[in-house]
Symmetry: C2
Subunit: 490 residues, 2 copies
């Protein structure tokens, strides 16, 4: 242990400032959005040097408790502060913040490219069936247009979902299904039902970035388990269970986001046994189920919905404008979850559920799914080749879905590349937004459907691919030296 640098502030004094701010926030003397005392004022009050206060504020910011914004100084962060990042800083640094990527993708207009977004372009989705369904709803009976509908949601849609579960080998009655406003809301409800602040939760590293955001909103401890081409790394999983006694494991069923890899049956079996031994719940999100040609094993099927909760939605495969998600779980949990949903959103989206059901029962639905899977297979092939031509290598060749997890050329920093690309109207999804351990700065998730086919109207002279190629050669996108944590390729 070396003595602190003579010019560094003393650790105990930094801790003193941090404690004082933490106490005031805990006592609600400082509330979200409120300004903290300036560095100078705080230093004067406590009789400390400004460098001590600066260091304390920086560390509190790294914990997500406070944040700094250009022009408004230091403020108290909301409960959902940006994820604590290695190098949090001014606003443009949010390029590695999951919520920033969501907002950029959602706000991007037609003139931008969105290889980083998580959904399909409009012309890939069943427009005609949606229009037919809307016209059909215009002729529905009065009550369907105005009533809340039953607490668990439209019975006919729950029956449809129960039948689909049966096809996967999961025996569940419609009473074991609760409809929600979205797949994310389904996960959020399950977390509210099962978690306490401070609980430990396992996720894959990398995982869907919004898992990190929703877990942060629950103030739980997020533990990343390295992800392999067969599912979670079993040794890592076992070690994390032993070390943290996690309450649940949140993962994708079937196709994994962001890598596109799929769970192998032996891994699934072993994970379930570990979960059983530890009294853990497994939550599997099968939002990409309809993209699979050969369905991967389901935890729910192996376990029979005892300690597994399955959630899903149709936002990826049908429409993101119609909000509909669902939870399948033990009957007694569904009862509690229904109460919780009533308390926190009251009625369900009865009209949205009716619309989803009408599209599912439309004669063209099966054909839509077949076409979609074929078109995605072709796009994965084309985009993988174009990525390789500019030096980006897919980590695995996925058997389905819309994502490629690309390894960047040596030395390229995904966050730096994302920031540079944004200046050219390109929204990318840098690896670390998916990584609880911040170990994926050499990776990037690419949405093949957004990168295939004719390019949208150009805002740069060169279009998407030439711009990416040029950017990759820019010195700005070179990051720090490769980290020893970079996972070896499978």
């Amino acid at each position: 242990m070396s003595a602190p640098d003579a010019t560094s502030p003393a650790p105990t004094r930094i801790a003193q400032v941090m404690d004082q701010v933490r106490t005031r926030i805990a006592a609600r003397q400082l509330t979200p959005g409120e300004k903290l005392p300036s560095i100078r004022a705080q230093a004067a009050t406590l009789g400390l040097s400004t460098s001590t206060v600066v260091e304390a504020y920086e560390r509190l910011a790294a914990e997500g408790l406070i944040r700094s914004r250009p022009g408004s100084g230091w403020t108290v962060a909301a409960p959902l502060a940006p994820l604590a990042l290695a190098h949090i800083g001014p606003r443009r640094e949010r390029a590695v913040d999951p919520l920033w990527v969501s907002r950029q993708s959602l706000e991007a207009d037609d003139a931008r490219w969105r290889p980083g977004c998580g959904w399909l372009p409009p012309d890939w989705l069943p427009q005609a069936a949606l229009r037919r369904a809307l016209r059909g709803l215009g002729r529905a009976e009065d009550r369907a247009l105005t009533d809340y509908g039953p607490p668990q949601g439209l019975p006919a849609l729950r029956q449809w979902l129960a039948r689909r579960l049966a096809e996967q080998g999961v025996t569940a009655s419609p009473q074991q299904i609760l409809l929600t406003g979205s797949g994310t809301q389904a996960i959020d409800l399950v977390c509210r039902f099962l978690l306490q602040p401070g609980d430990a939760v396992l996720v894959d590293d990398p995982c869907y970035f919004n898992f990190l955001a929703v877990l942060r909103a629950h103030r739980v401890q997020v533990i990343g388990v390295p992800w392999t081409t067969d599912g979670p790394d079993l040794a890592g999983f076992e070690a994390a269970v032993a070390a943290h006694r996690p309450r649940l494991y949140l993962t994708n069923a079937g196709l994994h986001n962001p890598t596109g890899a799929r769970l192998a049956a032996p891994t699934a079996h072993r994970v379930l046994r570990l979960a059983e031994a530890a009294g853990m719940t497994v939550v599997e999100d099968e939002v990409f189920a309809d993209f699979e040609t050969h369905p991967a094993p389901r935890y729910a099927a192996l376990d029979g919905l005892q300690r597994v909760v399955q959630v899903g939605s149709f936002s990826k495969v049908m429409s993101a404008a119609v909000r509909s998600g669902h939870i399948a779980a033990r009957t007694d949990w569904i009862e509690g979850l229904t109460d919780l949903r009533l308390a926190t959103t009251f009625g369900g989206d009865a009209l949205g559920a009716a619309l989803v059901l009408a599209v599912l029962q439309d004669g063209q639905w099966r054909r839509h799914l077949d076409t979609l899977r074929l078109r995605l297979a072709r796009a994965r092939h084309t985009v993988a080749a174009r990525l390789q031509a500019i030096g980006i290598t897919p980590w695995v060749q996925p058997q389905g879905g819309l994502f490629l997890w690309g390894r960047l050329p040596a030395g390229v920093d995904a966050s730096a590349l994302s920031r540079a690309a944004l200046m050219h109207g390109i929204v990318l999804a840098p690896g670390n937004v998916f990584s609880a351990g911040q170990t994926a700065d050499g990776f990037m998730r690419f949405n093949v459907a957004q990168m295939d086919g004719p390019e949208p109207p150009a805002t740069t002279a060169d279009g998407l691919w030439p711009t990416l190629q040029t950017l990759l050669r820019t010195p700005d996108v070179r990051g720090p030296a490769p980290s020893p944590h970079d996972r070896p390729s499978p």
Copy 2:
């Protein structure tokens, strides 16, 4: 202080059992839905009498931590347990549980009467405009049918809401408005953003029962302030602020639910001054705004959205099947709330928002509101007279809206009457589901729109009114002797 009855279990031993169960739940050794050791087993393990364990379990149930169900023994309650009630017991006792009333109302089919529910029958709502809007959406551009839409929600609907706020004297830009999935979801998001478990929150007593349910989900301390015909009782409000240092006050703007009374301007001014002095936030829910003929004062207008947050929805006045709510607040709070909404539900209901906007812009919307207000005024008059004829007196004659807050004949217990009525297919809303202090067992909320006009197909021989009259004469509905807490009539 008297010594405990010789046959009563010793208080310290009861506390010992309670602590042991609490510790196991806190350590997650017992999780929601899980069975507790049986009374007998627990008594044997701890070397105590079964009566000690029974008393401990009953007290834990009164706190909402565990619950008993016929046939399945004692189980751990979910975070959202039924509200701790004076006489919690077997399942039928949920007649005084807010969630039970919601579920009964939502599950009730055509053959039942629902004087206790909180919404209008289908033929009171703008069916033709909704059908036109659905057909119109069937012709919308592709992107509107399938995309998530911007993070804060449809800009045109936010502009419409900003204009309506301006008409109320509230200056707010569309950037200060966030669309949500429902009015309840709006309140839930604000609570998640501003509250910590254990914070104190003021509500009116009585208040909208789902306020109690949503606050319970946040594990905060709920403090009821007596409600008068002019708004909250100012002395009570001031005392509650001083005693509990509450973080926020959650109330209805305009027409109050359940009483139909409206806030007086001097009261509004005084409440805001108290809130300012205490650093409290006021959340006003104006879900009944469109039912007002002469708008009551708004906290948001007096305060300019500094420490006031306004929430609302169109579920009462347009359709409950289309989910749409909104929040108007300070810009920096809206930014944090938008992040929180992204994390917990991801996209908004873009199609639902487009549908709401289309109905608002339909040529018939103003006429619908005018007709609705007239029809409600007539129904309030008719139903008040019929209630008085059977001995139920409205506490106040509301100037708008769908509710009458009726004082039952002396000695009638609202919970007992509700349970008896349910056997006859009538869902009532007994006073105590609205009362944080459980002081309204002599009151009942009546929905005039559900009680006016021709009766639905009878499941009893006599119809709604004769059944109510008969039940009021039954000895079963007589409660305990009148409580000294019964509020005097204004």
